[in-house]
């Protein structure tokens, strides 16, 4: 007859590896680091190419004003980081025994991004065995996000904006790691964008993330010559999403040719300031 083996819980001796305890320590590091951050706000979208990073950069600059507020930007788009460049952040990154230090960009915005760590034009790549790479890669990337929250000396911030990649996965990781004041969803006017962003908003809500509002980006083309705004994409996804999710439409931002982040509407900055109040 086979003897019944005791279970993990029944073997009461200490677990020397203490993997769960080690994960707990990691979470504590995030909690301690963010204790001096008044609000963490995510900028999300279900679709790529909608201008999330440009909106994040514009929002960061507007909130920072002329030193009016301490603002940080964490670029959670590990594979396609762009917000650091939009804010004029350049490395190298200073590091000491306690922390790595965010790069201070124009307007005093504190920035951290894989863009500061990667060779120019090179993809994010991890050392490790090629076999079953997909199994551990997403775990590593969640770990990278955790370290960006916990190990960057953000200091006292009024708001930490997190620029997310397209989709909903990274927001779920973020929501599990950090207390979020909410998320701003960015969409193009098109129906395709509405559908993709609606999926992401539903996923965000399932993760307990509050929707602060919707921004419609590239909502027309702003002519530099005559200041008129011409149609660019058909549709009114911003208003439709706001109705669908009973959230405010925080503004329509026209496409303005050039590299600079677009000026963001005051309704957007006001909404973020509300959650800081």
């Amino acid at each position: 007859m086979t003897r019944r083996l005791r279970t993990y819980a029944e073997v009461v001796g200490p677990d020397r590896s203490g993997l769960a305890a080690q994960v707990g320590v990691q979470r504590d590091r995030v909690r301690r680091r963010l204790a001096s951050v008044k609000a963490v706000v995510a900028v999300m979208s279900g679709k790529g190419g909608v201008g999330k990073s440009a909106v994040t950069a514009g929002l960061a600059r507007a909130l920072a004003g002329d030193g009016a507020r301490a603002v940080g930007v964490l670029d959670a788009d590990l594979h396609g980081p762009t917000v650091a460049r939009l804010l004029g952040a350049r490395g190298p990154v200073r590091v000491d025994a306690e922390a790595v230090h965010p790069v201070v960009a124009e307007g005093g915005v504190r920035v951290f991004s894989t863009d500061l760590l990667l060779d120019d034009g090179h993809p994010l790549s991890w050392r490790g065995p090629d076999s079953e790479r997909f199994v551990w890669r997403s775990t590593l990337e969640a770990g990278a996000l955790r370290e960006f929250l916990a190990d960057v000396a953000w200091g006292a911030l009024d708001v930490l904006l997190v620029d997310l990649p397209p989709g909903a996965d990274r927001l779920a990781d973020l929501a599990a790691l950090a207390p979020l004041a909410g998320a701003v969803a960015v969409t193009l006017p098109s129906e395709e964008s509405r559908r993709a962003v609606a999926r992401a908003i539903r996923a965000a809500r399932a993760d307990g993330v509050a929707l602060l509002g919707v921004v419609e980006n590239m909502s027309g083309y702003a002519c530099r010559g005559c200041d008129a705004v011409q149609p660019l994409f058909p549709g009114d996804a911003g208003a439709a999403l706001a109705r669908e999710f009973d959230a405010p439409l925080l503004g329509r931002i026209p496409f303005v040719p050039g590299d600079a982040p677009p000026p963001v509407p005051s309704t957007l900055t006001d909404r973020v300031l509300e959650v800081l109040a």
Binding site: R3, L5, R6, Y8, V11, G13, D15, R16, S17, G18, L19, Q22, V23, V25, Q26, R29, G91, P92, V93, R94, V95, D96, A97, E98, A99, V100, T114, L116, L117, L118, D119, D120, H122, L124, S125, W126, R127, G128, P129, S131, E132, V135, W136, R137, T139, L140, G143, A144, R146, E147, F148, D151
Partner: protein, 148 residues
């Protein structure tokens, strides 16, 4: 993770770990009652999966370094980090043998500053005057420095 000696119905104790340098991981456990020893051998994928969590089998003996996971796993840009030189207590700063220095130079520069700090702390804490490749090997195994 716990190991049970089935003959004695006794929890086995963690004894040591080894990182042979081929991406695999070995942890040895012994039964405090009968002395039986077993080794857990993890293949590179299993080793990487656990490492991706930023945890150490056998427990941590060193506080997590800033961006430890990112720096030890990412193919990053040389010169991405401007490393602050730590002040070791007077007279306690260990020297590096030529062979150890050569070996350190072969560590990717993205992570080299962190690795150097870890070896220095290891040597200072143990009163080791000179860091040699053998000290580095011991530190790797004791601290679980896979990929460093």
């Amino acid at each position: 993770m716990k190991f049970l000696c089935m003959d004695c119905d006794e929890q086995m104790s963690f004894e040591e770990r080894a990182l042979p340098g081929d991406g695999t991981f070995t942890a040895a456990f012994g039964c405090p009652r009968c002395g039986r020893r077993v080794a857990m051998l993890a293949n590179p994928m299993e080793t990487q999966l656990v490492g991706s969590l930023g945890v150490k089998i056998g427990g941590r003996t060193l506080d997590e370094q800033p961006l430890e996971l990112v720096r030890s796993a990412m193919e990053g840009r040389a010169g991405a980090f401007a490393e602050a030189e730590e002040e070791a207590p007077a007279g306690a700063r260990p020297s590096w043998s030529a062979a150890a220095r050569d070996r350190l130079e072969r560590v990717p520069s993205f992570v080299r500053g962190m690795v150097k700090r870890i070896y220095m702390e290891y040597a200072v804490e143990r009163g080791i005057a000179e860091i040699t490749p053998s000290v580095m090997d011991r530190a790797r195994a004791e601290l679980g420095l896979e990929g460093m």
